[in-house]
Symmetry: C2
Subunit: 282 residues, 2 copies
């Protein structure tokens, strides 16, 4: 049984905000994640909501900035914030570019060397992490929801669409919805996955939702003053894909909001309630 090392645990809103490290099989080395246990976790297993962060972020980013613990404590939701990639891989080109490599794992299972030996965030989040959590924390893995921001929104949508039944709810903040059609994806996907665009499509929420819908409404919030809106995010493409695929989507556009955690912090409570509803907490 894989061991988990506790880095820190701190009291927060009546529960415990922890940071943990463990040896990951999927990612071939140490991985870190943050996990918040609400007060209810002291006496019962609780449903879990994953929050996947975006480019440049770590397990600390949403933990510190999203402001999710307050309502999670009220609703009885465990929060899990994984790091966005393996670290200190030593691979040529793994650092120094915020759009690729460490901090930019794009939640794929890389097939191209050298990335394929470490950059397997899809398997890590979908399989290894839930199994680990189920053994070490009072997590009811049968009741899982997933959300994320930007690259992490892409992660949340593709994971939910590719693993039917695993997540009861999915939402996203300013997600990358069509990586095969925008610069961020077109830069990262060939290096992780090779040139075959059929492989890329497995990590493209627009492509996936046309093939099979998610059982439930997908909630997406998007700021209208987001610098990346027109070039990298293009929520209208997902809107259209959902319409074509018959997917229920609640896409909310917010005037004046940008791509930052001030935006996320402003709407996180709505997302927590969206997930709590599906997870039997409301």
């Amino acid at each position: 049984m894989a061991a988990i090392e506790t880095i820190t645990e701190q009291r927060c809103h009546g529960g415990v905000q922890g940071f943990y490290r463990h040896e990951s099989e999927s990612c071939g080395g140490p991985m870190r994640f943050a996990l918040y246990q609400p007060p209810q976790a002291a006496r019962e297993v609780c449903p879990v909501l994953y929050f996947l962060a975006g480019l440049t972020c770590t397990e600390e980013t949403a933990t510190i900035k999203a402001g999710a613990q307050r309502l999670a404590a009220e609703l009885g939701l465990i929060l899990v914030m994984p790091d966005t990639s393996p670290r200190q891989t030593g691979f040529d080109g793994a650092t120094g570019d915020w759009e690729f490599g460490e901090g930019a794992g794009f939640y794929v299972d890389a097939t191209e060397a050298p990335w394929s030996s470490r950059f397997r965030m899809h398997s890590y989040v979908a399989s290894e992490l839930p199994a680990l959590l189920g053994r070490h924390f009072p997590v009811d893995v049968e009741r899982s929801g997933i959300t994320g921001h930007s690259m992490g929104g892409h992660g949340a949508l593709t994971l939910a669409l590719r693993h039917p039944g695993q997540y009861r709810s999915v939402s996203a903040f300013a997600p990358i919805v069509a990586p095969t059609h925008v610069p961020w994806g077109q830069k990262a996907l060939p290096r992780y996955l090779g040139e075959d665009k059929a492989t890329w499509a497995e990590y493209d929420a627009c492509e996936l939702v046309r093939r099979r819908t998610f059982d439930g409404t997908i909630l997406i919030d998007q700021g209208e003053s987001d610098t990346f809106l027109a070039t990298q995010l293009k929520p209208e493409l997902f809107d259209q894909a959902c319409a074509e695929g018959g997917q229920s989507l609640l896409l909310r556009r917010h005037a004046g909001y940008d791509h930052s955690y001030y935006f996320i912090n402003s709407f996180i409570d709505d997302h927590l309630r969206h997930h709590a509803q599906a997870l039997g907490r409301l």
Copy 2:
């Protein structure tokens, strides 16, 4: 009229989270502060709550970590988070020690060279900043409250006790209450203020509250697992001083909580409501 430079402004909870820079007369150089305008500020002047941060912090710390904007938006409170000292002073010994100098202004008006020319945070927060805010933002300076954390809790208490009528409400998180009796104060105060302990007493909340009370209940939250509790904070000294001086005090001790912003984030809403009550917002 002094100019204010806008560094950034971002939409947050229906209002605007801004960061600003200006030339400070009190501090003899540029100063930065963060200011949150709730939605109500678009149509009316609003009461203001100052949050003074602690050692090592900047104007960003509470802005990012305290989670105060959500309820401030609901209550219609403007939030002001000043930096904790002047920066880039170039003084020998001003950097490199987290307990003294830049990031550790202790909210005093220094009398000793070279500090006396720049480290005048008491006058800055008490006089210069309110006047500036009144001219540039929809702030009702007649309705002001003040709070802070650790060194900033010391700042909040001493400012409120020394300026009767200026603040309608005061609270603190894990404040330094007796700097003349604890290592942090005994290290910093002589360098800023010289060896005369009568001068130090002007910046010691325990000394001040024995002489004159604050008109209203002082709210203090303190974590029982705070590393600095027994050596630097000693809330029991303030409890006793308030009893002697006839000051109404609500000192709450919270089992398991430490000195971090996870602690502050857990109780910030109670403080916002405490101030909103006194500021006519509840």
